[in-house]
Structure formats: C-alpha cells, structure tokens
Amino acid sequence: MPDTYPREIIEDLVDDSLEWDQLHDMMSKFKDTDRFQQVREVLQERVDWEDPIIIPYAEHLYIVAKSADRWVIKCDCGHEFCEHDQNWKREALINVRDSTEAYREIYPEGMHPHPDYMELREFFCPGCKTLLEVENMMPGYPLVHTFEPDIETFYDEWIDEPIPTPESA
C-alpha cells in the first residue's frame, strides 16, 4: 500500500499546477506519511536563501532556523519579520480599508462591510510588498497572533525527527 506520492506530484502541488483529477485523488484517497518532509524539501529548493525551513508557516512565509536555538519568520523574498513565536503582523506594512471609497475598489455598492462596523487590514511584506493577509476586524481590535506552532512537540513526538538547524541543513 503506497503511503507516499511521487516527488513530481508534490512539486505540482506546491506549484499549484495539479490537474483537477490528480487533486481530487489526493483529497479523497490516502494521506501520505512523508508529506511534510517532501513538501519541506521542495520548498527549500524553491527559496533563494539557505536558512533551513523548520515549517512552512503561511503562503510566502516560513519559520526558519537561524541557529540551533533561534527560529524566525521569514518571507520567501528574504525579508525576516520576527522571532517564530512573535506576531509577524506587528512587523508588517499595514493598510486599512475603512471608508466606503476604499471598500468600493473591491466590492460593489452595498456589498461591503460598513466602515463603522468593520475594517479590512491588509498586511504587506516590507520586502516584496506581497499581500500576506487580510483581516476583517471590528475597529479597535488588537492584532491577532494567528498561529503558534508547537515545534518541539511536532518534531520530537509526532514525526520523531531532529529539528533542522543551519548545521544540519
């Protein structure tokens, strides 16, 4: 019983170039046990920098090892945001859409939130200006620290591998 996919399928997945039937198979059949490792390897190949990827964090973003005990959040453009357990949004560029005019660029009349009730916070990478996240928030809301992976547990207990370091890479 195969519990892995061929490398080229994983590459297509990462490149978002899978055909629908391939994708459908992947969704409805088994979940491969080496997916994390394969995807990480492909991603590591795709980026232009050497820091070992510890985990893919979000589209364009990675937690990478700067040393054995320092992990940071880094954009694929090379911009480094912050320590891995900090909220990268606090280091991003932000644009807030909170007027009817600004909303109407994206949505037709009447089909957008009311600016008094909700604003859109667009977070850009200071390096490449890519739009990394859009938060729809009630005005005045704190920034949400969306994801804090438990890296040690993951590596130590779930996949039983050492956490990558610059040395191990």
Binding site: I10, L18, L23, M26, S28, K31, R35, F36, Q38, V39, I55, P56, A58, E59, H60, R90, E91, A92, L93, I94, N95, I106, Y107, P108, G110, M111, H112, P113, H114, D116, Y117, M118, E122, F123, F124, P126, K129, T130, L131, L132, E133, V134, N136, M137, M138, P139, G140, P142, L143, V144, H145, T146, F147, E148, P149, D150, I151, T153, F154, W158
Partner: protein, 851 residues
C-alpha cells in the same frame, strides 16, 4: 411532486411499516413482556445486566475518564481480533443508515427535505453516543446524542418510561438542538429485555409556530416567540399517540408538511431498528454491543490519528464577527429588543500533543435579545459536523470525534446562554459565523504540514434566508423558507478557486433546488436566477461566487416576507492575502407596476447583477428598498412585489495580484467579476471588444486583456502599496491613541467590547495589554447601550439541565475570574511561557497516547 401526490406515497410506505409491525414483528411485543418482567418482577433497569440506564451511563463516563479511552476500551478486541467482521458490521450499519435516509426521504413533502436532503439518521449507544451516521445534515447526530443523554439524566427511564415500541421527540435547543425547526424522532431498540441502541432521525421542518412564519423567524427576542418546543414520549408500540397527533398540528403553520416529515422520520427509524435486529441475528448481541463500544473508541482514535498525521500541534487563534441589526426594526416582540448586535467570536484552538482538540471561545460576548443565540449542543454539534466534513470526511464518523474534542464556551455568552429564556431560531447565524476561524486554523495546520490540497479559506455566510408566509395560492395558511440558501459560494482552496453556488457547509448535499420545485410550494415565482458578480472574495484563488434569485409574489393574501443575513459585516475572512466575501444587502420593491409591465409586454427586472448600474430601478416603478443591512423583520408583501434573494459567495485566498490575468478574464465572462473590479481588485485591465459586449454574457471574447496595461497597473499597485501602507508600529500608536480617546468608535462597537470585557477577565487583560491601556480602562457607553448590558447581565441563568454528567461539566467550566480550565494564551504569554507544551492541555486528558 405535489404534496397530495406525496401524501399517498407516504401512506403506502408509512402504513406498510405500521402494519408489518403487528403482523411480522411479534418481537416488539416479546420485548415489551421481557422489559415488563425486568422492571416489575425483578426490579431491574433496562440497561445491560439489569442496570438502569443512568447507572450504565455513569459507568461509561467513569471508565472513559479513568482510562482516557471511551468506555475503557483500551484494546479494540473485536477490531483487532476480527477486523474483517468489524468492518463488515460497521459498513453494513452505515449502509443501512444511508438506505434508511434515501428511502424515507421519498416520504417527505417539502423540497427542504426531499430536494435538499435536510434529514439525517444516527444509531446511538444506549447512553446516546453515536455509533454510525447516515449522510445528510449530520450536525444533528451530536444534538440527538445530547437529547438522549438529557432523557437519561432526567430520569425518563423512571417516567414516562423507555420501553420497546416507544417513540420520543425532541426539538428543544437547550436539551440538544441547534434550533427548534429541526425535529428529532428517537426510538429505543431493545434486545432480550435490554436497550441495545437508539435510532434517531432529524428533519428540518418548514414551520414550528414561531411568532413569525417560516422555520427560522427573526423577530422574536426570547424563547417565548421561538416556536413550540418538545422533549417527550409521543407514542407507544410504534404508534403515535392520538393526543400527539392532535397536538403539534396547531403549533405549526404547515401541519400537512409536518405530518409527512414525521412519517419520514418514523419510517427511517423503523428501518434502522430492523437493520440492528438483523445484525444482531447474524452476529449475536455481544458482538453488536462490542462493536458499538469499539466503534466510538475507534472513531476517537481515528480523529486523533488523522490530526497527528495532517496537522501541527500548537495554538491557532482567530476572531470573527457578524452583525444583527435591530435598531428601528418593526414588530419586535419587546420594546428593549430594538438595538443592534455584533457577535464577537474569538476562537482559540489548541491542538494538543495527543492529537486532541481544545476549542475555546473565551472572550465571546453576552447573549442578546435575538434568535441567534447558541447552546453548547448547537456549537458542539455544529463544530463536530464541520470537522466531519473536513478532518474526517469518511464513513468512520461518530461521536468518537466528539470525545477527542473539548469545548470551552463561556457560560452566559451567546455561545452558551444557559438561560432558557434566550431565542435560538436561527442560531446558525452566529454559529456558522463563529466557526469561520476554525476553517483557517485547520488550513494553517494543513499548510504547515504540507497537505495543501485540504486548504480552504472558509465558507460563505449562509444567507440570505428567504422566509415568510401567509395565505398562499391555495387559500391556505402556509409558511415558506427557501432552502436556496443551502447553496452558496465556497471559500477558495489553495489549489483551486472556490466552487461557485455550491453546497453550504452544513449540508454537503445542498444545492439551489429547481426553481419549479420551489414554485410548487412557494407562491413566489422566479423572475430570474443568475450567478452574482463580485460576491466571492478576490484572491490568487478567488472565493466561489454566490448567486441571486429575483422573486415576485403571486396570488397571496396577508403575506409576509423577511430577510436574514449579514449586512454591515462580513463573517468569513480571506486567507493568506485573499479578501473576504462580499457582505449582504436587501433589495425589495413594493407597490410595483410589474403587473402592467407583464400586461404590456414591457421590460421588467430579472436581476440585480450590478447594484450600482441603476438597471433594476430603471425597469420597475414602485417603492424600492435598497439597504446594506442584512436582516428585516416580517413585512407585508403583495402580489407583484419583488424580493431579491442574494446567496453569498466564499472568501478568497492569496494575493489577488498573483492571480493569472487570464483567469480574471474568465471571471468576467463567467459573470463572477464585474469588469471595473478586474482592474481595481486584481490590477487586470480589460477592454470591451464592442459597445454591445456585456459582462456576464457567458460568452467568451466580449472582453480582452490589455496585457501591457495590466503589467503597468500591477506594478503601479505594488508601488501604491509601498507608499500607502505604513509600518504596523506606526499604525499601532495611532490606533492606541484612537482607543484611548474613543475616537470614531460607534456605540455598537464599544458595547461589543464592553460586553466581552464584562464576560471575561482574560479578554479584558488581552485588550488592555495589547493596547497598553491603563488597568482600569473602560469604554464609555451611551445610556441605551449601558441599559442593554445591564438588562442582559442582570438576567442571570435559567438552566435546562438539573444535573450535568461529567461530559457536561465543561458547560460551566469557563469564564471564571480565576484561571479557567482552558489556558488563555492571547495575552503576551506564549506557549513558551507555559510550563511546557503539554501545559496547554488539561491534566485530565494528557495521558492518552496509546495509539
């Protein structure tokens, strides 16, 4: 299919079942004798080995707690020793449940059940844990589970008795339901004098007698307008009591439909009972009992295995909001219900080291005088079904998944009112909006783990709900609620655009239904139906588009219609740079000249594809209501009035500037995007090939990409980002000052914050810490807002359950001033500040890592 036609079909199916029972099932009588003997002569209970059900349930809970395995099933004996038999038995059960659903559906009368499949069946252990489920609206599997536990907990075994042939009903939200319009039929299944299982079925009925017509009325402020509630025995010997049959028909505006729905449920439950009996005949009762125990434990392990295989441990956070605007609404049932509400749903998921989930809504604000409040059963059932559709999308779905999740729902919040005075008729409005971040938690986990094919930006806000009623085209009292809402745009996937006008998440089989079928039970002819542009959120992968139906009204008297959906807020965010879906608006026309237009063969509106175009207004004269709000209370409509039913789109994923321009062009041709927004949202410059070219023509080639201009525009937009965006630190200072000065913050928003702050010390700390506010910072509210809070916080609790078993203790475990049982990590404290990663996990459930 007319209802009359249905009625006769039903009779043949339903009555056949009833007749068969007498002739070919002497088993029920035999069971009754055995049970009577146990109860009266031996003084025993109906549980296993003479135990009472309550004792038996306590035993299961005790063993689950002490071993961290469901019912102490540390070894899956049957499964490990005889895996093929185990799978055969389970598959057979699962198949029988699906068959019961498919067969009994034919009995149903409403398109809601018949077309949309708004029914489901479950098989439960004697203690109410689901063993196997059918397809369909399986949110109700877990709510039925709660209903069975409630009956056990409140000594229904003592009286009115739980005996062979008995039939029970429940639709009480506080017992175990999302909202009263989902009615459950539950029958106990006996073998040799022991209760071996429960069969249960749920249908979404068309009207339960709320203060306004339709299954999910919006104008009531409390339970007292929410419709009829039932939790009781309604039949013996598999025959419904005459008293019941005369009772509920006056508690609905659509008795004939409800009668057929009930036959549907009875038919299905009896089929399941047969299936269980056959299984027992074939494999023996001990095997069946063992299967029922092991399958739940197996389900629990399956969930954890799946999580450990596809997700990352750690903490996921998100927040969602939705609006419910009642200021100025007419015909509210209480004077003080005339206010705006904002749902605040902070969502914190801890994926624990053992693969179990801990979901916390700490910080949720207070319940309100609206019908969108939730009970724990609703939230747990809702999230359970959401997980079954995502994490464990296979046959092996049962309450095992529930046993792998802990829920912490602050008592007194909208998510756990613990007050039977609250209204719940459309709890889904808050529920679906509140679980939006959970999609993203899962997607973030999948992303980190590499399972990108599972990533999904979220679901659409399920609305609009077209509902109403009055005297219909057959001169009868009637109610409608169009389940076109079962069909919405889906959030974008990582690797595909979101599906347009596809199923709403709570009903994987839902579709928009045939217009002709709706017209047969709804006196609301369609003038047009089309994909609705710009409803899906922009992104590299776009959110699936919603659609719209323009309905008119025909041949009615005293007809009411109303809207239910989000308006001022969008509930689902985009992911990874994708934008949220569009929010809703209301469009009606009353006192129109449609009749004359029909008679004169003139143009009339069929759509409102571009609300800014003026096209609608140009094609009709009348009193036009166009408002960006999403909810209206029942208002009068007359023949030839117009009502736009706008079904929402899904949210987007990824930076829209990364979307292939060709795809944007397709979007225009497919009617998903208006040309002007191709440029504004995507930086794609298109040209109309001719003056006649129309957007949404479904004809390719009416627009072309100006590739150079597109390249320029996209570069320009990147520059604009650099120029207009500011460092978050700068924004932070500005916002901090704004909050301290309470500048540009409206009362509705401040009221929401204050409500959450009064609910939760933890949220208060988080808010004050984040903005570096003083220890005693509070917002100043208007008198009206203060009164609203005072009224609700002063209302106290009015609990439905007298005694909570262990599994229900968590209903009271959150929101205390001291450290709650759930670690709250929104404040500066990160995972690392806890004593160790496992410290985020409740002691009780740490140790289970045997599989």
């Amino acid at each position: 299919m007319s209802s009359e036609h249905d009625a006769s079909e039903t009779q043949s199916v339903g009555e056949q079942a009833a007749e068969d029972e007498d002739v070919t099932y002497p088993r029920m009588r035999r069971e009754q004798e055995l049970v009577e003997e146990k109860l009266e002569d031996l003084g025993e209970g109906i549980g296993w080995n003479g135990k009472t059900l309550k004792t038996q349930m306590e035993g299961v809970e005790e063993r689950t707690d002490s071993t961290d395995h469901y019912d102490g099933q540390e070894e899956l004996e049957l499964k490990s020793e005889n895996p093929i038999e185990y799978e055969q038995m389970f598959s057979q059960l699962r198949g029988d449940l699906v068959t019961a659903r498919e067969t009994s559906k034919e009995v149903a009368a409403t398109p809601i059940v018949e077309q949309e499949g708004e029914l489901c069946y479950g098989l439960f252990t004697p203690e109410g844990d689901s063993i196997a489920v059918s397809t369909g609206i399986i949110v109700h599997i877990h709510t039925m589970s709660e209903a069975i536990k409630y009956m056990i907990n409140h000594d229904f075994e003592e009286s009115p008795g739980i005996e062979p042939g008995d039939v029970f009903v429940n639709n009480d939200t506080h017992v175990g339901n999302v909202h009263p319009c989902d009615i459950a039929t539950l029958i106990p299944i006996f073998h040799e004098g022991e209760l071996v299982a429960w069969a249960g079925g749920v249908t979404h009925v068309i009207d339960t007698g709320a203060i306004g017509p339709g299954s999910m009325n919006v104008s009531q402020a409390s339970r007292f307008g929410d419709g009829a509630h039932y939790c009781r025995k309604i039949g013996e010997d598999f025959e419904l009591y005459n008293s019941w049959e005369k009772d509920y028909v006056d508690k609905t505006r659509t008795p004939e439909f409800l009668k057929l729905d009930e036959r549907t449920r009875m038919t299905g439950c009896l089929m399941i009972r047969d299936a269980v009996k056959e299984l027992i005949d074939e494999y023996g009762v001990d095997e069946f009992k063992q299967l029922s125990r092991e399958s739940v434990e197996d389900g629990r392990r399956g969930f954890r295995n799946r999580i450990k295989r596809t997700m990352l441990p750690g903490t996921y956070r998100g927040v969602s909001f939705v609006d419910a605007l009642y200021e100025g609404q007419e015909n509210l049932t209480r004077e003080y219900a005339n206010e705006n509400h904002i749902m605040h749903a902070p969502s914190e998921l801890h994926v624990r080291e053992d693969g179990t989930f801990q979901v916390s809504f700490e910080g949720a604000n207070k319940w309100g005088w609206h019908p969108y409040n939730c009970t724990p059963a609703a939230i747990q059932g809702g999230i359970w079904v959401m997980l079954t559709q995502t994490v464990i999308p296979n046959e092996n779905v049962n309450d095992g998944a529930y046993y792998a999740c802990d829920f912490h729902l602050p008592e007194g919040s909208w998510a756990n009112t613990q007050n039977t005075e609250t209204a719940h008729a459309y709890a889904w409005h808050y529920l679906v909006s509140a679980w939006a971040p959970l999609w993203q938690h899962l997607s973030r986990g999948y992303y980190a783990r590499g399972f990108w094919e599972e990533i999904n930006a979220g679901n659409a806000n399920t609305s609009n709900w077209l509902q109403g009623g009055g005297i219909d085209q057959f001169d009868k009292l009637h109610a409608v609620n169009s389940f076109e809402a079962a069909c919405e745009g889906v959030g974008a996937r990582y690797v595909e655009d979101g599906e347009p006008h596809a199923a709403a998440i709570w009903n994987p089989e839902g579709d928009m239904g045939d217009a002709e079928v709706w017209e047969r039970t709804e006196p609301l002819p369609f003038l047009g139906r089309a994909v609705k542009p710009n409803t899906g959120g922009p992104g590299r992968r776009a959110g699936g588009a919603g659609f719209e139906s323009l309905r008119t009204v025909s041949d009615v008297t005293r007809w009411l219609l109303y809207e239910m959906g989000n308006g001022y807020m969008t509930s689902d965010s985009g992911l990874f740079g994708g934008y949220p879906a569009a929010s809703g608006y209301i469009l009606n026309a009353q006192n129109t000249d449609l009749k004359q237009r029909f008679e004169n063969g003139e143009e009339y509106p069929q759509h409102d594809l571009d609300p800014e175009s003026g096209a609608f207004e140009a094609q009709i004269d009348g009193d036009i209501t166009r408002t960006p709000k999403g909810i209206s209370t029942p208002k009068e409509f007359e023949d030839h009035d117009l009502y736009l039913n706008y079904l929402r789109g899904g949210s987007g994923l990824g930076d829209p500037l990364e979307r292939d321009p060709e795809e944007v062009l397709s979007d225009i041709h497919d009617g998903y995007v208006l040309p002007r927004h191709a440029e504004d949202a995507y930086g794609v410059v298109v040209e109309q090939v001719s003056e006649d070219a129309k957007h949404n023509s479904a004809v390719d080639g009416e627009f072309e990409i100006d590739e150079a201009a597109t390249r320029d525009r996209r570069e320009e937009m990147m520059d604009e980002r650099a120029e207009e965006a500011v460092p978050a630190s700068e924004w932070y200072e500005e916002q901090r000052e704004r909050i301290q000065a309470e500048r540009d913050l409206i009362d509705d928003v401040k009221k929401t914050y204050v409500s959450s702050m009064r609910m939760s010390e933890q949220f208060t700390d988080f808010f004050r810490n984040f903005w570096d506010l003083s220890e005693d910072f509070e917002f100043n509210l208007s008198d009206e807002a203060e009164k609203s809070l005072e009224y609700r916080f002063g209302s106290g609790f009015k609990r439905k359950w007298d005694n909570y078993t262990r599994s229900h203790e968590s209903w009271h475990g959150v929101g205390r001033e001291d450290e709650p049982v759930v670690p709250y990590t929104w404040t500066d404290r990160s995972l690392k500040d806890l004593s160790g990663p496992s410290a985020s996990f409740d002691e009780r459930t740490r140790a289970t890592d045997d599989d």
